[in-house]
């Protein structure tokens, strides 16, 4: 679906082969999303490995909608000065935390250790730096200071932890469950504990739509949202069946089935909701600013939740809140 032909006759959805993208996995596997779009809209998918690639694809109109983590969504919003995309729904919350090796039992023990985060300036990275800041530790972006924070890819982190190269890592699922299962590690901080203001919820995955596509084809986006809501509901109402479907889809994408134990534990740690938990995005951006990683970004307008709220209202459900003011 090139940018030129955004006439609503087709929709290309991007997502990752990852448990936190389960609404997409289930929705595609069980035909919920294509079903919601109807016969007239050609549905296509693109599977990405990383957020920036997906954002790039949104930028150039290669995909019309994509499931994204908060950092890529914010970056995309900031880089395009608010022109490229809108978040139309939440998809998943929670599912990250700081795992550390045995012997580190309190925050104070972290001093002098080496910890990994998935990406410099990413939500997990910001969370860890935020904690360090609160403790009054001196940390820099190049891995130095009282606490050495090294950004590296999750796969590398898992290996590095197993080899004793690092003392802990702030990881998303399913890497989190994997480390917990395979190494002598324990969860020091569940990220949910950092978000008392949102009842422990914080955004992990969004559904974002290209701004132009949204402008021209609101009805297609509405159908997409319908499918998305159905997928999320399925995940919450029939977890067994939905998880099996997600697992099947993952296997077809990655060629391998994850260890069932790890999958189960990962699913348990993630919660699926259409609420984008807007305050957590705002607070995350504030924290990033506070630790000096992000230029001030005006997130006003990143959410376009009217369609979602309309659908929720149809079902008589509670509205979700965006950023007001």
């Amino acid at each position: 679906a090139g940018a030129e032909e955004a006439d609503g006759s087709s929709l290309t959805l991007g997502y990752f082969p990852n448990i936190t993208h389960a609404p997409a996995l289930v929705g595609v596997q069980d035909g919920i999303i294509p079903g919601a779009l109807g016969e007239d809209v050609a549905f296509d998918t693109r599977i990405f490995n990383s957020g920036p690639d997906a954002v790039n694809a949104l930028f150039s109109g290669e995909v019309d909608a994509a499931y994204l983590g908060p950092s890529p969504a914010v970056n995309g919003w900031a880089q395009s000065e608010g022109q490229a995309l809108h978040v139309v729904a939440g998809a998943a919350t929670r599912g990250t935390g700081l795992v550390v090796r045995e012997g580190i039992d309190s925050l104070d023990d972290l001093r002098g250790t080496t910890l990994a985060t998935p990406q410099l300036g990413g939500t997990q990275d910001v969370a860890l730096r935020w904690i360090a800041e609160e403790q009054g530790w001196d940390v820099d972006t190049a891995g130095g200071g009282d606490l050495s924070i090294v950004p590296q890819a999750n796969a590398e982190t898992v290996d590095a932890f197993a080899l004793g190269e690092i003392d802990g890592a702030w990881l998303p699922e399913p890497h989190l469950s994997r480390v917990l299962a395979e190494d002598d590690a324990h969860l020091l901080i569940d990220e949910a504990d950092l978000w008392p203001q949102t009842d422990g919820r914080f955004v992990t995955t969004h559904l974002a739509v290209g701004a132009e596509f949204l402008d021209r084809n609101p009805e297609v986006v509405e159908d997409l949202l319908r499918g998305h809501i159905a997928s999320v509901d399925l995940l919450n109402e029939e977890p067994e069946r939905a998880r099996a479907a997600a697992g099947d889809h993952l296997e077809s994408l990655t060629g391998a089935r994850l260890d069932p134990g790890i999958t189960a534990s990962a699913f348990d740690n993630v919660a699926f909701t259409v609420d984008p938990v807007a305050p957590s995005l705002l607070a995350g951006a504030d924290r990033a600013e506070a630790v000096g990683l992000l230029e001030p970004v005006d997130l006003n307008g990143i959410y376009a939740l009217d369609l979602l709220n309309g659908l929720l209202a149809e079902d008589g459900r509670e509205r979700v809140a965006g950023l007001e003011g």
Binding site: G2, P17, N49, N56, G255
Partner: protein, 293 residues
Amino acid sequence: MPDTDVRDDRRRVRGLDALELQPRRGTGERSAAETAGRIWAATWPKLAAVALVLLAWQAVVWSGWRTEFVFPGPDRVLPTLFREITTPEFWEAVQVTMRRALTGFALALVVGVIIGIAVSQFKPLRVAIGSLITGLQTMPSIVWFPFAMLLYGISESAIMFVIVLGAAPSIAGGLTSGIDYVSPSLLRAGQVMGLRGVQRYTVLIIPAALPMFVTGLKQGWAFAWRSLMAGELLVIINQQNSIGWALSQARQLNDAERLLSYIIIVLVVGIVIDVFFNWADRALRRRWGITGS
């Protein structure tokens, strides 16, 4: 007459001595035994190498240097490998990847040859973009993807674009070097005979530059393949699995067994292609009268 016979016998005996020094030549067609011997000579070192590697690998694993799920031994990897290659999906992936590799390489070949000739022909062009070509070559494929996507969208063409950008410089570079090193006496001979324009290239320059060109092709293949792998791991196109994607997924999931399986597969592909290039190279050298050391 008896004297001749004796001499003949003696000659035969000496001939056997000579046989030990080098393959006996000029004795009519080669026998089946000889052919078998040659195949054996070409095979045993490879088999020995494989056996040695497997043994060493297993030994390292048994030594308990690293835990099994970080560094599994052949006892675990080989079954995984076998399981992989017996699925039809695997062969589809191989097919997709090989098709991309070959078309991409063919494209890179055309582009590389045109650029190589143009650069070695026009001096200002060489000064202007000669170094740029190597510059492009040093660019990691990953940075090309945003551009590829801008130009072609997420499509096969985008992957082709990255392959061409990766491989064409090597091919062009090999050709340019080859052309630069064409013996001046052959160039003079060509000039006197009135070779000009296209004919000058087809009859003289390209054949004379072939040895370096083939070396460039080999390098170009390696670049093409690496670029392809980098491209395939970014995104799945048209729901088609591929080797690069499988490799990256194995890595993402820290699935050491599958990762090693796919490494072996990539190695095997690389070796098969190299055997082909070597064959071309040897044929070339035979033609030129340069027998291998």
